[in-house]
Symmetry: C2
C-alpha cells in the first residue's frame, strides 16, 4: 500500500530471480530476495520485481527474459549446487550468449574445498560423485567473471556477449550465508560497478506506530498528500504494528521531516519509533539505561517471549531468563502461582498473569517480571474466553501494567502477536519513568 508514486525518478532498477522448487512450493521461505532488496536499496538501486521459479529450465529462461526487458541489473540466487539439475549458471550463460566451458583453475579450487569439507566432517562420500559435482560447479560461461566460492559454489557475473544488449546478470548461490559472503565481491565486479555508478543512493525514513488504525493513518497522509508528491511513502501493517516507510533522495529531507512531524502530531501516543529502532531495540536500550533486568513467566507461548527477548545480540545484559510453565503444575512449582488461584480464576486470567509476573520476578531475582497466559488454540476456549484471549501482566520497581489482548484465531498468530503485545506493554512500562 504505497501512496501513488506519481513522479518517482526511474533510477537504477534491479530484478531478482529466486530459483528452487522448495521456495516455489513454499517448503522453504526465501531469505535472499529480501536481503538483496535491502542491500540494493542502500546502494540506491530499486528492486522492480522478484520472480520465483522452480527448477524447470523454461521457467528460468522466461524469468530472465522478463526481467531483462526493464531492469538495469538482474541477480539470480540458487541452483549452483553440485548436482546436474542445478542449471542456473549454464542457462544464464546461454541467455547472455556465452556458452559454458570447464574452468580448470576453478575446478582445482572447488575440488580442494570439497576435499577439505569431507575430511573435516569425517564423511564417507563417494569420490566419483564428488568429482562429478566439482566438475559441474566449475563450468563457467565464456567471458564471465568468477566470484570465489564462500561455500563450495562459485558465483558469476555474466555480462551480455559482445554485440548483445541487456543488463549484466549476477549469479549467486542459494544458501544465505554463502550469498551474503559473496555479495561484496559481486558489488565490486566491474560490470556491476558500472551499473551502480549510475545510481544515486536513496535515504529511508521509518515511522513505527502501535495501536493506530490504518484508515486513520491513511486520512492523515491524504491530508498532506500535496506535500508528498514525488515521495515514495509506503504503509504496512505487520503483526499489529503499522509502518510508514519513505524512500527519498537527500534533497527531499525537508518534506520527509514535514511528514514525520505531521504523523507525530496526529498520533502522539501511537508513534513509538522514528529512528529505525524496533520495539526490541527500544526496550533493550531502556533496560540497559536503567540497569534493570527482566524475567518472564509465560504459558501458551511456550518460551517464545523469552526467545524474542534474547534474539537480540547483547540481551544477556538485561534478560535473566524465562520460565515457560506450560503445565499448570509448573506454574506452581517453579513460579509459586497458588493452585487455588488457578482453580478459582482459570489458568488464563488476569490474576494468574499477575502471579506469573510476580513469580518470574522473584524466581529470577529480576527487576521486571512479565506474565503471559492465554489460549493459543485450537482447543481450550470457553464461552467467555475465546481462542486468542491473552492476559498480560508486568511488574517493575516503577509500578504495574496489565492488559487483555485478543488476537486472531490462529495458533501461530496468537503466539507471535501476544509476544509483540507483551513487548509493547514493557516499552510503555519503561517509558512511564521510574
Amino acid at each position: 500500500m504505497t501512496s501513488r508514486p506519481r513522479f518517482v525518478t526511474p533510477g537504477v532498477r534491479a530484478g531478482i530471480v529466486v530459483t528452487g522448487t522448495e521456495v516455489l512450493t513454499g517448503r522453504v521461505a526465501d531469505r535472499n530476495g529480501p536481503w538483496l532488496a535491502e542491500e540494493l536499496r542502500r546502494l540506491g538501486v530499486d528492486v522492480g520485481r522478484i520472480v520465483v521459479v522452480g527448477d524447470r529450465p523454461d521457467d528460468l529462461v522466461a524469468a530472465l527474459g522478463h526481467l531483462r526487458a526493464d531492469h538495469d541489473l538482474v541477480i539470480t540466487t540458487g541452483g549452483l549446487g553440485p548436482t546436474a539439475d542445478d542449471l542456473t549458471a549454464r542457462i544464464v550463460g546461454d541467455v547472455q550468449g556465452r556458452p559454458s566451458t570447464l574452468d580448470a583453475a576453478l575446478y582445482d579450487t572447488v575440488r580442494a574445498i570439497v576435499a577439505q569439507l569431507v575430511r573435516r566432517r569425517g564423511l564417507d562420500a563417494d569420490p566419483e560423485a564428488l568429482d562429478a559435482g566439482s566438475r559441474k560447479q566449475a563450468m563457467v560461461p565464456v567471458g564471465a567473471q568468477v566470484l570465489a566460492p564462500v561455500g563450495t559454489a562459485p558465483g558469476l557475473v555474466v555480462p551480455p556477449a559482445e554485440g548483445r544488449s541487456g543488463p549484466p546478470v549476477v549469479v549467486l548461490p542459494g544458501p544465505p550465508v554463502e550469498l551474503r559472503g559473496m555479495w561484496p565481491a559481486a558489488v565490486a565486479a566491474p560490470a556491476v560497478r558500472a551499473v551502480l555508478d549510475a545510481a544515486s543512493p536513496l535515504l529511508e525514513d521509518t515511522i513505527l506506530l502501535w495501536g493506530t488504525l490504518e484508515a486513520d493513518l491513511a486520512a492523515t497522509l491524504r491530508r498532506i498528500e500535496a506535500d508528498l508528491v514525488g515521495l515514495e511513502v509506503s504503509t504496512c501493517l505487520r503483526g499489529g504494528e503499522l509502518e510508514v516507510v519513505t524512500r527519498y533522495p537527500p534533497a527531499d529531507a525537508g518534506r520527509v521531516d514535514l511528514l514525520r512531524r505531521t504523523v507525530l502530531g496526529d498520533f502522539p501516543t501511537g508513534v513509538f519509533s522514528t529512528d529505525g529502532r524496533t520495539v526490541d531495540d527500544l526496550i533493550g536500550d531502556a533496560l540497559v539505561a536503567r540497569g534493570w533486568t527482566v524475567g518472564v513467566g509465560e504459558s501458551c507461548t511456550g518460551g517464545l517471549l523469552g526467545a524474542r527477548l534474547t534474539a537480540r545480540a547483547g540481551s544477556s545484559a538485561y534478560v535473566l531468563g524465562s520460565v515457560a510453565a506450560y503445565h499448570d503444575r509448573a506454574k506452581t512449582s517453579l513460579l509459586g502461582v497458588p493452585p487455588e488461584l488457578i482453580e478459582a480464576h482459570g489458568a488464563v486470567s488476569v490474576e494468574v498473569a499477575e502471579a506469573l509476573a510476580d513469580g518470574a520476578r522473584r524466581a529470577f531475582g529480576a527487576d521486571v517480571g512479565i506474565g503471559l497466559t492465554g489460549i493459543a488454540g485450537p482447543g481450550g476456549a470457553t464461552a467467555d474466553k475465546p481462542v486468542g484471549t491473552v492476559e498480560l501482566a508486568l511488574v517493575a520497581p516503577s509500578g504495574r501494567r496489565r492488559r487483555t489482548v485478543r488476537v486472531p484465531r490462529d495458533r501461530q498468530e496468537v503466539r507471535t502477536r501476544s509476544v509483540t503485545a507483551a513487548l509493547h506493554e514493557l516499552r510503555l512500562l519503561l517509558g512511564d519513568g521510574g
Copy 2:
C-alpha cells in the same frame, strides 16, 4: 535442485502475483504464495512462477503480462485495501479488457462491514475517509465475479473480456486470514472451475533425512536415474534436514516406491520420515505413545526449544515446559546446576548440559529432560569453543544421549539449528526403545 524434469507432463499451470512494496523490500515475508502453491498442488495445478511486485502500476501490468503468456490461471494477492493506491483490482480489469465501475450492492456490503468494524473496536475514525475507502473497494471490473469479503476487501474472478484470449485472473486480498477464507469461493467460481477441470491431481511423496550428505544422496539418485525419468524429484537441504519430494501422477506409484526403497536402502539411519511427518510430529507421537512428558532446560536459545516443542497443537499432552536459564544464576536457582560445575567446566560444556537436562527433568517432574547450552554469538566465544558450539544432553527412563553440535556462525542460525538438532536427538532417544 530438481532432478532434470525430462518429460514432465505440461498439465495445468498457475502463476501467482504477490503485490506489496513491503514484501518486495523484505519488510514482510510473503505467506500467501507458498500457501496458494500448496492448495493448487492438491488440485493438481502446478505453480509455474511467482512474481513479487511493489505498488507501481507498470510492474503489476508487466507481471500480469508475463504470467498470462504461459499459465492457465493467474492469481493475484494484495492491493485491495481501502486506499486509492491499492490498484490491483482496477489494473487486472484493464489488462483483461474490463473497465471498472461502482457495484452498488457491494458498496452497501462494504460500508456495513466497515461500520460494524469501527463500532466493535470503538474506533474514532473519519467518516469521509471511511466512505472513500468503501467506495474504492466496491469498484468492480465489468463482468467480473465478486467474491464476498472475508475482511473488508471483496475478491474477484476476472475472465478475459469477450473475444479476448488468456487465462482468468483471480484477485485475492493480502491478509492471509482473508485470502484463506476466500479461497473456497474462488475455487468454486465457474471460470476457475473450468480451468481446474482439466487438471489431474498429482500425488506427492516426501522422504526426510538427517545427517546425510547431499552429495551422497545425489549419487544415489543418479544411480537410479533411468528409473526416474518423467518423475519430478526435488531435493532440498533445510536447517540441516535433507528433503526429497516427488510429485507424480497416480500411475507412477510403483516407480516412486522404488525410489523410496532405494533411498531407505542406501541411508537406513539417515531417513527419518517417509510419510510426511516432521521430526516435531514424530517426537510428539512417540511421547504420546509412551505416555512420557518432557521438560527443557535451555540457555542460549532463550526459550526457542520450548517454543518449538509447543508450536504443535496438542503439545500440552507431553510438554510440561521449559526453563530458559539465560543467566547462570538461574541455572542454579531454578534447575539446580551447581555453581562449581559452571565454574569448573564453563556454562557451555557437556557437564552443564547434562545438569540442565537432569535439572529440567526434576523441576518439571518430567519423564524426559533436555539440556541445551551453547554460544549463539556474536560474543562469548573462546579458543576451543567458537561461536556455534552447542552442547545437547537428554535423559529419559530408557537412558541418556549427549551430543556436541557446531552450527554456522550466525546468531539466529545457531539458535534455530541447535533446536532442530535437539529435536533429532530426542527422536533418536525415543527410537531407542525404552
